[in-house]
Subunit: 331 residues, 2 copies
């Protein structure tokens, strides 16, 4: 299994520091989670039937003609390669490593291609997978370009899979509105922007024929009862969404500036910052010694990714640890 | 997708009776759900890391050497046929329809064989799948017999998959204790006995090599944070388990006697009763008109399955509807 952020248990074991004494910046999950409503008495009890309120809220929020709910984007990333005969797949790189891994596991021929070379590789693949915006670099491809690519791929029965897991901050860059076009598949996640990664809820927006195939592949009851109820509330709560977007924009800029103040030129999205740190292993070790768990990327986008601190004290602890890192580097 | 019980939305649509006015007896889920504890603040928020407390509680409760948690037994039923090359599969019939369906979908050659003929079919298959006890008939195969079958199958690289989703009432009939033997795979469900079907939590107990393959197939974070916490509490709560076993034994016998009082000779388990009703469609229609949603089985074990009522008023409503059914039948 691939390594991922959010693995605080590993940090606890490796450094002998208890859970409560860590600041976990190893994911791109919003630290200000959507406040979970009081749950219906039988949401734990009953088999979770298909939930129209959830689907309607999601269609409205993502502006998508048709979608299905899945138990986290991860389950769609696993399923997609398995409902298609082995073919030639280009995965935009560097990117979230599960995409290439799952297509390979399912027997496809996978090539990882940099964002700059995607257009040139289009004639040579049947499926293209792209994280937009990219995690961790923040690279993006404009919607108009993606839609032109879909047209080319679809003409020969191909797919463009656009993983918009971190797309909530930039709704105008989403291609979900066009996802009923054959060949376009858009993945969305409730975990990141809403800070509800424990819920296991995501969506696939695509043409209805493909959605039916996917739903059959995933089988019944894949999304839990509480995930349905909480997801429906979060996706319909426009005031929370708007104020959170503003708050995260500020926090993201603050993190970017904080790093710049220590000579680190990072890129990314409002929810994370990444840079190709030359001494990534040492940086990660240094931060761990100061109780801060970062994401050390050893493959692909080699470097460091930092999520957002929440409490003011955590911002200051991060700043202090960066001061010590800079002075070490100067020494 | 196959039809299943618990589809109360269908009942609401078809009969125009609102949710709250139905008694849902269409599943075999314990109506007295395990009381959900207060949840940890960040169980919705954080990515659900592997949880050793959950695994330890499950190993103890199921008396299984090694197991992994899955998002409901259903996800294991889907995964198993997909981590094995196409082969000859015998599914004990009649049984929970998803088994045969999923093995077929994954390209295996599936034969459905009655419980009486399983031993004879053993030499002619690579994988045998058996629900023990059976849902809905209650048929069972003794552990010693199953262990002998495992030996034969394993000798040629085969598997015996024992679905013990309804095994909680009869721990002495479980083969989970031997599940580290190569070739034996035991499925367990938290949904039925604990009444937590909305949680999406189950377990696979098997040899560690197979568990590693399955875990890799299922990918990270398949079980939600709340499912981990609630599951760990329920599986460790021996006093609740013991008193619930006693209560369900009474309730199951009461349902059996109630049906017998109306001339219906049913079999099953403490959580459900089934009989090959000759006028199943009419029975289901009659009960629906009285606000009771039953499971009408149109394939396999053709007939009616009834889960347990909870409130005393529901028992009486069921009795009254049965009185009317009997008098109709006599008329």
């Amino acid at each position: 299994m691939l390594e991922h952020g959010g693995n605080l248990n590993d940090a606890v074991r490796r450094f002998g520091r208890p859970h409560a004494e860590w600041i976990d910046l190893s994911t791109g999950i919003n630290p200000q989670a959507y406040p979970v409503p009081v749950l219906a008495a039988n949401c734990w009890h009953r088999l979770p039937e298909p939930n129209q309120i959830l689907i309607d809220s999601a269609r409205m929020y993502y502006n998508a003609p048709h979608l299905i709910a899945v138990a986290g984007t991860q389950s769609a990333i696993r399923a997609l390669p398995r409902v298609r005969q082995p073919c030639r797949v280009v995965v935009a790189a560097p990117a979230y490593a599960e995409h290439a891994h799952q297509w390979q596991q399912a027997g496809h021929t996978v090539q990882e291609v940099g964002y700059d070379a995607l257009a040139a590789s289009l004639p040579h693949c049947d499926v293209m997978v792209i994280c937009n915006p990219n995690n961790p670099t923040g690279a993006m491809v404009a919607p108009a370009v993606l839609l032109a690519w879909v047209e080319q791929l679809a003409a020969r029965g191909g797919w463009l899979v656009v993983d918009e897991a971190f797309g909530d901050m930039l709704p105008k860059h989403s291609v979900a509105a066009w996802s009923d076009r054959p060949g376009l598949i858009v993945l969305r996640s409730v975990g990141k922007f809403f800070g509800l990664a424990g819920l296991r809820l995501g969506f696939v927006a695509a043409h209805q024929t493909l959605l039916a195939t996917l739903a059959d592949f995933l089988g019944p009851w894949s999304v839990s009862g509480p995930a349905q109820q909480i997801g429906a509330a979060a996706l319909a709560d426009q005031p929370w969404q708007e104020s959170m977007r503003a708050a995260l924009m500020c926090a993201g800029e603050r993190l970017h500036r904080l790093l710049a103040g220590h000579g680190i030129n990072a890129s990314g999205s409002a929810l994370y910052q990444w840079w190709p740190e030359a001494h990534a292993e040492a940086f990660s070790q240094h931060m761990a010694q100061h109780g801060i768990w970062v994401r050390l990327l050893r493959h692909g986008a080699i470097g460091i990714r930092l999520g957002l601190p929440y409490h003011e004290a955590h911002w200051q602890q991060l700043d202090a640890a960066l001061v010590k890192w800079s002075s070490k580097a100067r020494a």
